[in-house]
């Protein structure tokens, strides 16, 4: 499925992944799978009010996030990029706090994490990636940082995605447009969302090279992302990657996929589980053994438990932050509203 347009990223092809890196990728995917399924359970248990699962997208998210250079690149996520966050080593309690309804953008530090605040507006941050990326090129920087912007097949319908691709191409901004085509935008399937059937195909209209990659093959995703990053870094402008994957779960914990697709359809369309598929490959290639997988599973469970404890301990933020976080230089009106709130509530 992976297509290979001409991407120029310097003379050196990316080095193949070492066995240790392959095992690390699996461990990350395993941790993401565990945290994802745990988060759905936490919602059912009343620990968090809602969650947007990424079940089935572990390879697309971990493979791409693992390729990001955290010393210079910057990632612009949506609300369904937990796997990218995990692969980039984010503070996962800080990340999951958005689903705990602690703070919209999450409690992690976006500048230190190289991971923008969680974005609830579909396609909202795609243009931010273009601006950030253009900023890297001002003053003639070479070997620059690259912006990686995530969005889905549903978001590809938004006009901002068109504007972003056009701006990035005109300005030769180093942006990787990473589309996870997971088959569904809540209840609407790709064929009723994406005219022509492929977001990657649209890139040609902007003169942007694109890759359509098997989004359930973590190594293929990693390599595609690596070559796209190298292409961008060398001053060649943006790249579109469309990772073909499948949203195995509901859109969110409030969704009911039974209203728009049957279990049989899900089973047929989902194909092979990316986690199981990678496991079989590592076993077949002798990269990892059963003991490794058991340990990965144990570590994933332990980590999910620690994150649950972490978010349960978070507690609500002080109400005063509603006011203090709005501006760098608060207005007198807002300060008087804050004063009134403090005096008229029991939060003195």
């Amino acid at each position: 499925m992976t297509t290979h347009p001409v991407l120029s990223g310097g003379d050196v092809a990316p080095a193949p992944l070492t066995h240790e890196q392959l095992r690390e990728l699996y461990a990350l995917m395993s941790a993401v799978r565990r945290l994802d399924t745990a988060a759905v359970a936490w919602q059912r248990q009343g620990i968090i009010p809602g969650y947007a699962p990424e079940l089935g997208q572990e390879a697309a998210q971990v493979g791409s996030g693992y390729a990001v250079d955290r010393t210079r690149d910057f990632v612009f996520p949506t609300y369904r990029e937990m796997g990218v966050a995990k692969a980039m080593g984010l503070d996962m309690v800080g990340y999951m706090s958005t689903h705990k309804a602690t703070w919209h953008g999450g409690m992690y530090n976006p500048l230190e994490s190289r991971f923008a605040p969680i974005q609830a507006v579909v396609a909202g941050s795609v243009l931010h990636a273009v601006g950030w990326a253009h900023g890297q090129t001002l003053g003639g920087h070479t070997d620059s940082g690259v912006a990686v912007t995530y969005f889905g097949d549903g978001a590809s319908s938004q006009g901002d995605v068109h504007e972003a691709m056009n701006f990035a191409a005109v300005m030769k901004a180093p942006v990787v447009f990473f589309v996870q085509n997971n088959g569904w935008a809540i209840s609407v399937p790709t064929e009723r969302q994406v005219a022509g059937g492929s977001v990657a195909a649209r890139a040609a209209g902007y003169g942007i090279p694109s890759l359509q990659v098997d989004g359930n093959d973590v190594v293929a995703v990693y390599q595609a992302t690596q070559s796209a990053l190298a292409h961008c870094r060398s001053g060649n402008g943006p790249v579109v990657i469309e990772a073909m994957t499948y949203r195995r779960g509901p859109h969110s914990t409030a969704d009911d996929p039974g209203r728009y697709r049957t279990l049989e359809e899900e089973r047929l369309a989902a194909g092979e589980d990316p986690l199981e598929r990678f496991k079989q490959r590592l076993l077949a290639e002798g990269v990892a053994d059963e003991a490794f997988f058991a340990e990965a599973q144990r570590a994933a469970e332990e980590e999910a438990e620690a994150i649950r404890t972490g978010i349960e301990e978070l507690g609500p933020r002080p109400g005063a932050e509603m006011f203090s976080m709005v501006f760098q230089e608060p207005t007198p009106d807002l300060q008087s509203q804050a004063t009134a709130w403090r005096e008229e509530s029991e939060h003195v």
Partner: protein, 343 residues
């Protein structure tokens, strides 16, 4: 204080004059030039801002002087311009984008409201948005549809945004320099019908915060901003012929509104008329009236009057003068306030 007219070439030996007469367009251009010179992170961009210097020439000559990295043209898409501003701000820049006309802000409203106004909040203060969005605003130039809108109430209603509008070249210079130095987003509404009016710019004395008393008076206060300030000053002159001493308060900052200045002025005059071009219903006049009522209820001689545009789409040029508050309508507003008697 010496007062001179701005000339293209200054004598290098002569000391820089403290007061120079120039148009608002020149004052804005000069302010942007100085901002670019003083702040290496400032970048100016938008439709036709580069080589052309903007359709109103506000960025005239800036690309040639400061380079294409600092002043550049974008494709013709306002959401793109504003969305890009967010990313540049996240990367540590101080974007000064332009939307070419007020009505062109509508296609960018998602980026302005959902992103620019909220990123500092969403990121818990780690990603400030030091964006100064220049919007040529208001009517009065017989332009096509969507070229004469007054969006101040819409912007002022959005948490996380600040809104300002200059009425004179002096304020245009000082307010723009001040806004461009702020760490928060400022919507900078330029009264396009006043671009070519000249006035003194005092370089040394800039007071860029709060409202400004444009003319002192004793009998009532006209509250205005943008292009309506000069019209209110005309009205004040006419009213003076009838012995009515009008104070004109140029609000300048529309968010935050200088409530203390309102209280001071109307506390003295005890009567107020708010004048704006925007439609009446839910316009900023209502906010101003409430602030005045809050501070001056006990001493007010009459309800605060509003003389505004109407709740209609901004009309075509031929009807523009019927829509924008004119001298007669403002005088009627003054009359209603002066003649008001309690039962």
């Amino acid at each position: 204080m010496s007062e001179t007219t701005m000339t293209p070439v200054q004598d290098a030996e002569a000391p820089a004059p403290n007061v120079v007469t120039m148009s608002m367009q020149q004052a804005l251009n000069l302010a942007l030039d100085e901002v670019l010179g003083e702040n290496p992170k400032a970048v100016i961009f938008g439709e036709d801002c580069g080589r052309l210097g903007g359709v109103f020439r506000i960025t005239d000559g800036l690309q040639a002087k400061h380079g294409e990295d600092r002043v550049f043209d974008t494709p013709l898409a306002e959401s793109g311009i504003l969305g890009m501003s967010v990313g540049l701000a996240m990367a540590g820049f101080h974007p000064i984008p332009e939307v070419q006309f007020d009505g062109f802000a509508y296609p960018a409203i998602n980026q302005i409201v959902c992103q620019i106004g909220r990123m500092n909040y969403r990121s818990r203060g780690t990603l400030p948005m030091p964006i100064t969005l220049r919007v040529p605003s208001f009517g009065g130039i017989r332009a096509p549809e969507h070229h004469g809108e007054s969006l101040e109430a819409l912007f002022a209603h959005v948490p996380g945004l600040k809104v300002v509008s200059p009425s004179t070249p002096n304020d245009a210079y000082h307010l723009l320099k001040y806004a461009a130095g702020r760490p928060d987003p400022v919507i900078f509404m330029e009264p396009k019908s006043r671009y070519w009016q000249k006035g003194p710019v005092e370089f040394a004395a800039g007071n860029p915060t709060g409202a400004r008393v444009a003319k002192e008076g004793r009998h009532l206060t006209l509250v205005a901003w943008g292009a309506m300030v000069s019209r209110c000053l005309q009205v004040a002159e006419l009213a003076a012929e009838d012995g009515i001493d009008v104070e004109v308060l140029d609000l300048r900052w529309l968010k935050p509104i200088d409530a203390e200045a309102l209280a001071r002025s109307v506390g003295k005059t005890r009567r107020a008329v708010v004048v704006h071009e925007a439609p009446l219903t839910s316009g900023l006049g209502a906010e101003v009236a409430q602030l005045i009522t809050q501070s001056c209820f006990d001493t007010l001689k009459a309800p605060v009057e509003r003389v505004t545009g109407f709740d209609v789409p901004y009309p075509s040029g031929d009807l523009e003068d019927e829509y924008i508050p004119n001298i007669d309508r403002i005088l009627f507003g003054i009359q209603r306030v002066l003649e008001y008697r309690r039962d």
